[in-house]
Symmetry: C2
């Protein structure tokens, strides 16, 4: 971490007890990529027969690791797989040297494990534009292999943190055909978080047996309604990566249209996405923005993101000010269709505005009381169609400025 940050007031009470996912093991190590005295590399190893799927940032300046993962992700293989992740340096905008660092790490892991290099996936997160000291990571591969442990997913969650104030994990189990299937995942992220591009770093594992194409279809579909629906600061990372591995160790076959599995995976991904928002840099409020009655779902999302990304809405929430005029402003600027005189606004269950003006039943005290809560709900009904969307965000506080005005220093 750049500095000792106070644990977010919106953090879950505790890190969840993550189950063993048969067929995958983990280890973390302190390689000193940027800071000494903390774990900053994690390696996951998946058993032969595992499938791997992923979604990635759509940034035009994405990192060398992301480009390498994207080149590898569509391939089928019966070999196992490895995932190596470091924090402290994102290896983004590091030119040809960055490509070289990825190749050096993946080749070294391939050599040490006997895996084909095409089955070694790497991620890097941290500062942009500085050369990745990949030798320090390679020097830890033997230690990481020796320490592989099926219960170390929590340690891996800690090793990938940057400005995160708490490690993020989530798990669900689901019965499919009378047999239990486990899903567990970890994530990191708290700033440079914006949807429409994928996510931050997320690694999810299951012991279900899922064909690669089905796993990819599930992950892509659910991603669009979870990680692609969160925003902390409207800024999109050059490193966003979600990788999911299915080991098949449970023997339970799952296809892309399995509703129980999809529901459980959705829960895990939404849980992790919400934890990223809850650890938004400087966040003191967790905000749900729901837009209904839009012309289309896409329009609803455009409006919801305009609200969720508006600095004036986010600072009003930080100040516990039920300043609904700024929500009107954000709807107005979004560019999507709206009719000033048909939209209504609610804080929680409180009707604030309708018919183009403040509701006759609304009292400022009601809105102010809702704003004092740590969890805020803003609902806007546009009254012109059936489109709907929900996104999640946090407030914009002095803490965000403090963290980001000297992150590198």
């Amino acid at each position: 971490m750049a500095k000792n940050l106070t644990r977010s007031p919106l953090a879950p009470a505790e890190f969840p007890a993550l189950p063993v996912i048969e067929g995958v093991t983990f280890a973390a190590a302190a390689a000193g990529v940027k800071y000494a005295g903390r774990t900053d590399v994690m390696m996951a190893m998946l058993a032969p027969g595992s499938t791997v799927a992923g979604v990635f940032t759509r940034s035009a300046t994405r990192s060398a690791n992301v480009l390498d993962c994207q080149a590898k992700i569509g391939g089928d293989s019966d070999a196992g797989a490895a995932i190596v992740v470091n924090s402290g340096n994102s290896n983004a905008f590091t030119g040809k040297a960055g490509d070289g660092s990825v190749a050096a790490i993946c080749n070294a892991v391939a050599m040490a494990t006997g895996l084909p290099a095409a089955r070694v996936f790497s991620s890097s997160t941290g500062v942009i534009g500085e050369p990745l000291p990949h030798d320090r990571i390679i020097a830890k591969i033997e230690e990481l292999m020796g320490a592989q442990d099926e219960t170390a997913l929590g340690a891996a969650a800690k090793a990938i943190m940057t400005t995160d104030t708490f490690p993020k994990g989530a798990t669900r189990s689901v019965e499919i055909g009378g047999k239990p299937v486990q899903i567990a995942g970890i994530a990191k992220g708290s700033g440079m978080i914006a949807p429409d591009m994928a996510t931050m770093l997320v690694y999810i594992f299951t012991d279900a047996k899922v064909a690669r194409a089905d796993l990819q279809a599930l992950v892509s579909r659910i991603n669009d309604w979870t990680f692609n629906c969160i925003t902390v600061d409207s800024d999109t990372s050059t490193s966003d990566t979600l990788l999911m591995g299915a080991t098949g160790a449970s023997g339970v076959m799952v296809t892309a249209d399995n509703a129980e599995f999809e529901a459980a995976l959705f829960d895990v991904m939404l849980d992790l996405a919400h934890q990223v928002v809850r650890d938004g840099e400087g966040a003191t409020k967790f905000v749900t923005v729901t837009v209904t009655g839009a012309l289309t779902d896409a329009d609803a999302r455009t409006h919801a993101l305009a609200i969720a990304n508006s600095p004036l809405v986010k600072t009003a929430i930080a100040g516990e000010d039920p300043n609904w005029g700024r929500i009107v402003m954000a709807v107005g600027k979004s560019g999507a269709a709206a009719d000033r005189d048909k939209l209504s606004i609610r804080f929680g269950d409180i009707l604030v505005a309708e018919n183009g003006w403040v509701a006759s039943t609304y009292r400022e005290e009601l809105g102010a009381a809702h704003m004092k809560q740590p969890e805020i709900t803003i609902s806007v009904d546009l009254g012109i169609g059936l489109g709907a969307a929900t996104v999640w965000t946090c407030d914009l506080t002095h803490g965000y400025i403090s963290i980001n005005a000297d992150y590198r220093s």
Copy 2:
């Protein structure tokens, strides 16, 4: 003003000496719209034969005043014209009552002045969603008419301020066919400032004789390269209005293709636009973002605005941190075309990055020294085309949070 704000460190040394524009007079009054003890209404009166043009916010939730101005702006008339502006209340999202307030004010001014109501233009700026106490404004019309003064444009500039920390004025004179023509304007604005929609409140006057259609063509064209190229916080006002009146008192005819007049008007509008940025809420740095080498001018503007609106770029500038990686991030997320390995970045004249990585000649001390200046220049060359754009913004500081986390309270 919501509270006593310290004058922006980026403010001009002093308010400019504005010339008399023959054919237009001004007055300001204290109507107590929201706060007592300050002027908060201004009225300008234009002589018969004046033409009026305007550009307005494209917000879907624009104010009742904006809708009324837009309905009136295309009309030709030999009558004079009046412009009435109040601060303290924006009369936006005030439903049918808001339309009624505009009609009440315009009709009262028409009655008192003998002008047709279609020649009375009104603007309101301030809090959204509260009923405009238009009776307080109407009660001041007689006083405003009696105090009309050709030298009172500066007093008008003060009356329209909200969170502005200094009044904004600009002037140029230009010789056309050997005869002098004067242009002078005022503006207000410091938050809820984003381009692509028009501007904040701006009123410009000239004694040139310009046909209405020509005046509109000039204002619209120049607006696109001045007010539409500034952003403080990416949030767009529901009230943005620019009105320009040409009295013709100089006897000098000007058409839309008059290069000297266009250059002078451009200077006035850019000067006012820059002053709005210099008074950006909490601003400590004035930032010029220039993008060249894009596929198209539109792409260049998209990239420039992605940089100028990025909270992470703006907080880095606030922290005087030459964190060019965040500029790479912003270019990457903008959605416009870019090639990671072809873009170069400069701070002032300092080459920071090229060929997909930090420049070999770059030293962090050089970037840090540039960042310590109150005026920062960020130049990005994408290296893939001929498109170019420049936008202006400010940094994002604790001051912005302080101002906006309790503006209404």
